[in-house]
């Protein structure tokens, strides 16, 4: 069980606890014939479902290896699971909201306040335990894993596709001994933005806890001041109004989670990366004539991936530039970079990709259409107008295979001119230095 990460054991514990309580509430609800208990038990059921989703996506993300069906593995499963949990919670909040509005229209008193109070308190206890279990970010479990292990043994023993929280845990275990200070601070950042699926589950548990709080408050009021057969007074309105407040609290905490998962799932630029600065620095690398198709996105858990196309004059330019480019990306926090070199001569447009797919007809399937020229600053398109065409390159083969998109497009020419104007000062400083 050395591989048993803290997260899984917490989730399973909560799963067992919640399932047990659900069954208990359901049975006592039917025995005592209280609808409130039955409906509260179904809240536990939804908790259970969200826990299952969290658990299963966590396992999928950790266990599944890269393979022919998923070349990146399934590490994104956590983000998808968190999104599902958040949307599920939003839908439940919606139905709870509807119910409480109906209750406001037709208020009803609580019948058996004592039973409801008891079970409500128990439910609250279970939820608070759940919250504590998840909030306590594996203080026990992580300390256990931080115990020093010989690096080689750790390397061999760890099942790959290892845990995303293993990532945080392995700060000390990593065989990479060069733990720079930047690494340490990055680990802290990871701890703060916890694993997404845990946050999804936490939302559900918190929602349930708030619901139990409302139940307890209402039941206490009805217990202390029983209504008997009197018509409903202000007491009957407490439950729905508190519920509405609770719904808004839950929704306000669900939306940030939805936003964060959307950032990952929509392939947005990760938070710590500034595309403007990045493309500025990239375009200043000597040997790089222009860049295009720069894409940066986050796979999951702060693993950023980038791809770009670089136009260079000669293959040697490319090889020198490639290393620098990687360094720039590394400093930006992007560690998986794929660079495609394209060799330009005076005929080809410096703006557009020399080798999109093999024919223009495939344009619709490109991730970024070549017909829409990107704005100069946003798609990593930067040009140095001072680069002289090299006579040495042997890319005859490449030239005939490229589809030349002729410079008829006024947008292209405009943007070329604009960038030419902008980069004049840069060029003066770097003219004549194509090599570092």
């Amino acid at each position: 069980m050395g591989r048993y990460s803290g997260k899984t054991c917490r989730l399973i514990f909560m799963l067992v606890l919640t399932a047990g309580f659900f069954v208990a509430e359901l049975v006592s609800g039917y025995l005592g014939n209280s609808i409130a208990l039955v409906s509260d038990s179904f809240n536990m059921l939804s908790d259970l479902i969200s826990l299952c989703v969290g658990l299963s996506t966590g396992r999928i993300a950790r266990r599944s290896r890269r393979g022919p069906r998923a070349t990146y593995g399934y590490s994104r499963a956590e983000a998808v699971g968190a999104l599902c949990n958040a949307v599920f919670l939003t839908a439940l909040c919606f139905t709870i909201l509807v119910d409480s509005i109906l209750r406001l229209a037709r208020p009803e008193p609580i019948d058996d306040a004592q039973l409801v109070l008891i079970v409500g308190t128990l439910g609250l206890a279970v939820n608070v335990v759940g919250l504590l279990v998840f909030q306590d970010w594996g203080a026990c479990c992580r300390r256990r894993r931080r115990s020093p292990r010989p690096p080689a043994a750790a390397a061999l023993r760890d099942v790959p596709g290892g845990t995303p929280d293993g990532q945080e845990d392995e700060a000390g275990d990593s065989p990479n001994d060069q733990k720079s200070p930047e690494e340490g601070s990055e680990k802290k950042k990871e701890k703060k933005s916890e694993a997404l699926n845990i946050r999804g589950v936490l939302l559900h548990v918190m929602g349930d806890a708030l619901g139990s709080v409302v139940v307890v408050i209402t039941a206490t009021i009805f217990y202390l001041r029983p209504l008997g057969n009197a018509p409903c007074n202000w007491q009957c309105y407490i439950d729905p109004s508190l519920t509405i407040v609770m719904v808004f609290i839950i929704l306000s905490s669900a939306f940030p989670l939805i936003k964060e998962t959307s950032t990952i799932l929509l392939q947005m630029v990760p938070k710590g990366v500034d595309m403007q600065i990045l493309t500025d620095r990239l375009s200043r690398v000597p040997g790089v004539s222009s860049l295009h198709e720069v894409h940066v996105w986050e796979l999951a858990n702060r693993k950023n991936i980038a791809t770009l196309h670089v136009k260079c004059q000669t293959p040697s330019d490319y090889q020198d530039a490639a290393h620098k480019i990687r360094k720039i990306f590394h400093e930006a926090g992007v560690h998986s970079v794929t660079i495609q070199p394209e060799y330009a001569d005076h005929k080809t447009s410096h703006v557009l990709c020399s080798s999109p797919c093999i024919s223009k007809a495939c344009d619709a399937h490109l991730c970024c259409s070549q017909r829409e020229l990107p704005r100069a600053e946003t798609n990593g398109y930067m040009e140095k107008s001072g680069s002289s065409p090299s006579a040495q390159h042997k890319d005859n083969g490449l030239r005939t295979s490229d589809i030349e998109i002729p410079m008829e497009d006024p947008v292209a020419e405009e943007s070329v001119k604009n960038v030419n104007n902008c980069d004049v000062s840069d060029d003066k400083s770097q003219s004549g230095s194509t090599r570092f």
């Binding site: 890269r66 593995g73 061999l156 790959p160 720079s180 403007q276 990687r326 024919s359 007809a361």
Partner: protein
């Protein structure tokens, strides 16, 4: 309707507007009906109708989600926040709708179970029938509106893969392949300078699986675009599988609502016809609603006493099974909905998980690439679907030297193209002296301490078991950093290579947690 318009030529953003128009129309109708239902329920003070009206509200929310997704997905240009544009928004909208629908099914299930324990009578069945029929009509209208993207999308939404060799299933694709490319080119505004268009259309133009129920002609245009019928407007080809996913989500919501209306109407009709209600006056015994055992006992006593005194004046409320009809039908409806929602959920989740699209076989792609001359090894081969037909691939190709790479670069792109992967980023790597050939080392990894942060770190199976998994992809990429080669390159001898941490121990692999 949408495909018809597009077939006439560049139709502008009509198709996209068409989608949006349909969504807006349905949204307006549904919201209006929701308001009407709320009003009627206040007038007749029928709680059941009020709660049913909120089902319509959930429909409204689903439509709003789909609309937002469509608006977003329209922006396909790269921006500072998103280098791919927002095309994936529709896939996400589909997922959100599918999960939302599942959650609604869950709550309906709970309500049905509650109804089992506490059956309710329907008050004023006539009003319920009227409003139920009106709701059903609106839902049927919605179903017609969104029928293109209907339920039959099981496994066919990925029908845009270009199968090599061209399955000529679609009649429009067939003749196009034989037509001279000049026909199609005449429609283009830009001149082609390469003859590869011909190659493209012949190898590719007809590879479209039959899409089953999704007869959306936009998909035809999109495939035939390769064969020369070139759609010039971006938005026209956006009605592809990602849009279909989004519309399927909406369709399923409307479908669920329609089923709900059907149940309401059927239930109310049967109730109206068969139920024997308790009259206002006179003793009435309702055997169907047993709350407490005690109550029952006293009731039966009362009944017994009443029976002795006045026979026939105690009415017994109508057949009890009627009360259980509603929950049973609801359960059936929940099962149907879950069964039809699950494929949508699965498809959108698979796209968002960056999996390889169904129609692409990475093994065969890998072997095709490796059999090319000049290609020594391939690693970090990744293929994923951005949205719809936009499939993206990246690979690191190891070649002996740059000139060899130039020669194979075109072939490599062609191979990817044949599989339907049009946006590729190929990184050439040149072998160093003395390194082993075959699968192996990534020449340009990030620095060693980034191993944890790379998308694909080393694998356990690289360490001791190098030979296992030989049939699988050579994705394993060790993070051993080696020097740049100095001697093999033809042009760069004078450039001193940057010396990185030269760790040439091949057995030392770094673990990373992916």
């Amino acid at each position: 309707m949408c495909g018809g318009m597009a077939a006439q030529g560049p139709g502008g953003p009509r198709c996209w507007q068409n989608r949006r128009a349909r969504l807006l129309c349905m949204l307006a109708l549904t919201f209006l009906f929701f308001v009407v239902e709320v009003a009627v329920s206040r007038v007749t003070s029928s709680l059941a109708m009020l709660s049913d009206s909120f089902h319509m509200l959930s429909d409204v929310m689903a439509l709003v989600v789909a609309l937002v997704a469509v608006r977003f997905a329209q922006r396909t240009r790269a921006t500072k926040k998103n280098t791919f544009g927002w095309v994936r928004a529709e896939v996400m909208g589909a997922l959100v709708n599918a999960v939302f629908l599942t959650a609604l099914c869950f709550t309906i299930l709970l309500e049905a179970i509650e109804r089992f324990t506490e059956p309710h009578e329907i008050q004023q069945p006539l009003v319920v029938i009227a409003v139920g029929v009106a709701g059903l009509i609106i839902n049927l209208l919605g179903l017609c509106l969104f029928n293109h993207h209907g339920v039959g999308g099981h496994g066919h939404a990925h029908g845009h893969g270009h199968s090599h060799g061209g399955r000529q299933q679609h009649p429009r694709g067939g003749p196009k392949a034989e037509q001279p490319p000049g026909d199609g080119e005449a429609a283009l505004h830009r001149e082609e300078t390469s003859t590869l268009v011909e190659n493209c259309s012949s190898s590719n133009g007809v590879g479209q699986e039959k899409l089953g129920d999704t007869k959306d002609d936009m998909s035809d245009v999109q495939v035939n675009g390769n064969a020369g019928h070139y759609p010039l407007d971006e938005e026209e080809v956006e009605e592809d599988s990602s849009a279909q996913l989004n519309m399927r989500g909406v369709f399923l919501h409307v479908f669920g609502d329609a089923l709900g209306s059907v149940i309401v109407v059927v239930n109310a009709l049967l109730f109206y016809g068969l139920w024997n209600p308790c009259p206002e006056d006179g003793p009435c015994f309702n055997p169907c609603v047993n709350n407490h055992c005690m109550e029952n006992a006293t009731l039966s006593q009362a009944l017994g006493r009443a029976n002795k005194s006045e026979r026939g004046s105690v009415t017994v409320a109508g057949p009890c099974w009627l009360l259980y009809l509603d929950p049973v039908l609801c359960l059936i409806m929940v099962c149907i909905l879950l069964y039809t929602t699950y494929p949508l959920l699965r498809e959108s989740a698979l796209i968002l998980l960056q999996t390889v699209p169904k129609q692409i076989d990475v093994h065969s792609l890998n072997s095709k690439l490796r059999t090319l001359e000049g290609v020594e090894a391939i690693h970090e081969l990744h293929i994923w679907q951005l949205a719809g037909s936009r499939i993206i691939g990246t690979a690191h190709i190891k070649c002996p030297d740059p000139s060899t790479y130039m020669m194979v670069a075109k072939r490599i792109k062609e191979i990817f193209h044949d599989e339907g992967i049009h946006a590729t980023t190929i990184q050439p790597e040149f072998a160093s002296v003395g390194s082993e050939s075959g699968r192996g080392k990534c020449e340009l990894p990030c620095r060693t301490q980034c191993a944890l942060k790379q998308c694909c770190g080393t694998r356990e199976d690289c360490t001791a078991k190098k030979t296992e998994k030989s049939s699988s992809l050579s994705i394993s990429c060790s993070e051993v950093v080696i020097e740049f080669p100095k001697t093999r390159r033809t042009k760069s001898e004078s450039i001193p290579s940057v010396k990185l941490e030269a760790n040439t121990d091949q057995n030392e692999q770094f673990e990373s947690s992916l």
